[in-house]
């Protein structure tokens, strides 16, 4: 009896499907062909061009390999179309754009202050640099200068952020080249930096802490001691990293003589930052065009001469040490005073304070605008909803990010919204060098070369 029981509610019963006439053979072939085409249909970028060239050449030894965009060794959604002959890379074409979010366009419909929360999301490993460069560009247009304490705090957080960014580079590159312990160490120390950033800004990433005219809030009590303890510890940790890697035969094998770019090639390709300094040219925006008072601090610009992945590794560790030097100096001579420009037409009107329900507008400020002064309420309302106006003009403002020159080309038409914000992101520019570094080398070295660029796709694609 159980055989005749059929599941209720089925539109097509199993028995009926079997009664259908069999599909003609031709259609099945069609389907298989279509499916085969779909497997190969990886349009976009330069894939079609590369495969067409390969078919035309009729070279059976040549293999086209699509590395990325979802590949653990490409630092995010970077796609490399590689042409391989055996292990040798014949050609390489980077394809980007997978993380494009239209931040530049979005800034045009948000006020100048709101733009900070957008630009901080571009290069997510160095958010403070994005904020600082954007705000410095606005300050240049406004022709104002943030108070000394705000400048010093910006330098403090930028340098801590630089250490954090270089640690991520060390960690991920170590992971990719087989030094797994380096990955654990790098992220362990970066976690402490993120804790400090969280103490000061309230957030681990996407801080929106640097504001036009100053910074959002002062450093809370107790943070200075925390930073000093970290700085002392970090100097020892940098020694440990060098003990682990500098004379490690596997590390040397994987990095020495790989991805060499000389000074002329670097400048022609617009490459800045550690990659350019690895050729021996000590170009650093902090020295050549100081901002935020970098001229007050004593630090060296480390250089190397071998211009390969190993040199870039040595440079980044040396830069961690220089950043620690700067952090110590900032803490030693941290000026007192306000952290926001005194002009009430620039500074954010609200004051933040810690309440029983977390961080929010200070109750004193709320009492003032709600109970005491109508003018203060109107001013608060106008500043928060409409923002301030910036005189018409255009500026280009570069800062030295961990990856190189981060430049903001900001245009104002005199209104309360940016007219155009264009970001020269070092990841975007430096990625152009990948073909030059890897062509003619082995496919295994592609990983090391791409990694030494330290690309952050959030910044490259924006």
């Amino acid at each position: 009896m159980t055989d005749s029981i059929e599941p209720a509610g089925l539109a097509v019963r199993p028995g009926e499907a079997r009664d259908l006439p069999p599909q003609p053979a031709a259609r099945r072939i069609d389907y298989n062909e279509r499916r085969a085409q779909q497997v190969l249909a990886m349009g976009g970028g330069d894939w079609a061009e590369v495969t067409a060239r390969q078919h035309a050449a009729g070279d059976d030894e040549l293999m086209v390999l699509n590395m990325g965009p979802q590949h653990p060794s490409t630092h995010g959604v970077l796609r490399l179309v590689l042409e391989l002959r055996g292990e040798e890379v014949v050609s390489c074409q980077p394809v980007i754009g997978y993380l494009h979010t239209g931040i530049e366009k979005t800034t045009e419909v948000r006020t100048w202050v709101q733009g900070v929360t957008l630009v901080t999301r571009m290069d997510y490993l160095s958010p403070i640099f994005n904020e600082a460069a954007y705000c410095l560009a606005i300050e240049k247009l406004l022709d104002v200068r943030a108070p000394e304490r705000a400048q010093a705090l910006r330098v403090l957080l930028m340098e801590l952020n630089r250490i954090g960014s270089h640690l991520v580079w060390l960690a991920t590159t170590g992971l990719e080249l087989g030094a797994l312990s380096m990955m654990l160490y790098g992220f362990r120390e970066r976690e402490q930096i993120l804790d400090i950033l969280e103490d000061v800004t309230g957030l681990r990433m996407n801080h929106a802490w640097v504001r036009p005219g100053g910074v959002l809030q002062d450093m809370p009590e107790g943070t200075e001691a925390k930073i000093r303890a970290f700085v002392d510890e970090m100097a020892r940790k940098a020694d440990e990293y060098e003990d682990l890697l500098t004379n490690n035969p596997i590390w040397i094998e994987r990095t020495r003589g790989i991805g060499v770019l000389d000074e002329e090639q670097c400048l022609d390709l617009g490459i800045t930052g550690p990659m350019l300094r690895a050729t021996g040219l000590a170009l650093d925006v902090r020295k050549t065009e100081p901002y935020c008072g970098y001229e007050q601090y004593e630090f060296d610009v480390p250089t190397a001469t071998s211009a390969d992945v190993y040199a870039r590794y040595q440079l980044r560790v040396a830069e961690i040490r220089e950043s620690l030097r700067i952090v110590r100096q900032v803490l030693d001579k941290l000026p007192s005073g306000p952290v926001m420009h005194p002009d009430p037409k620039i500074g954010w009107p609200a004051r933040l304070a810690l309440g029983p329900d977390g961080l929010g507008n200070s109750s004193e400020h709320v009492r003032h605008i709600m109970g005491e002064s109508m003018e203060a309420l109107i001013h608060h309302f106008k500043m928060v909803t409409e923002g301030f106006k910036v005189p018409a003009g255009e500026v280009y403002l570069p800062v030295e990010s961990p990856r190189g020159e981060l430049g903001y080309h900001v245009v104002s038409d005199g209104g309360n919204l940016p007219y155009r914000v264009h970001v020269r992101d070092p990841s975007f520019v430096n990625l152009q060098a990948v073909p030059l570094m890897v062509e003619g080398g082995l496919v295994a070295d592609v990983i090391a070369a791409v990694s030494s660029v330290d690309p952050v796709m959030g910044g490259a694609d924006r």
């Binding site: 754009g97 390709l269 617009g270 490459i271 003009g393 255009e394 280009y396 975007f428």
Partner: protein, 181 residues
């Protein structure tokens, strides 16, 4: 308008002597110098600026576009140059109309212009003549329009590759939307 910094004066003098009819305007703002050029002589001027001993602008820092819809030649392409040898910056500006936006490519002068020019083409539709591979770089290949132009709608359009719909900003949160004053 502030006066251009002193270091760059020999460059400007040299430019005026060598290319008297190519330079349309020299301006300064907040200590930055902008030289507006006729697009026809862009490559010659760029080569001169890169190679002349008084200039040596070996690094093309940035290349970006801006759209000024109220102007007849509404698309502006800005070249931000940096001289490593003399530690100075200079901005070149070339303006083109939207109907026939052709600008000579400077990829032969600075290789880094390759991706920058692709980006400006992608977002503003400027055609760089002589570019080795002028295709979109950040937007999908089959995208229609050039999104960074000021008249490109923000929201209120179908998301082209998904068939989804994004409401216009005034229906999202701010009544009437933000306006530039």
């Amino acid at each position: 308008m502030t006066q251009p910094p002193d270091a760059i004066q020999p460059v400007l003098t040299g430019l005026r002597d060598s290319f008297p009819e190519a330079i349309k305007e020299v301006g300064g703002h907040r200590g930055e110098v902008t030289v507006e050029l006729d697009s026809g002589s862009l490559v010659e001027v760029a080569t001169w600026l890169r190679d002349h001993p008084s200039a040596r602008f070996r690094l093309l820092s940035d290349l970006s576009g801006t759209d000024y819809p109220e102007r007849p030649d509404r698309l502006s392409v800005d070249y931000h140059l940096y001289s490593v040898d003399h530690n100075m910056r200079l901005r070149l500006k070339v303006r083109v109309g939207v109907d026939d936006p052709h600008v000579p490519s400077v990829t032969g002068v600075w290789s880094t212009a390759n991706w920058h020019e692709r980006e400006v083409y992608d977002f503003f539709g400027v055609r760089f003549d002589g570019h080795p591979n002028l295709v979109r770089i950040l937007m999908p290949e089959d995208w229609e329009g050039h999104p960074q132009r000021r008249d490109y709608p923000l929201g209120g359009v179908d998301v082209q590759y998904r068939g989804a719909h994004v409401p216009s900003p005034d229906r999202r949160r701010y009544k009437g939307g933000w306006t530039s004053t």
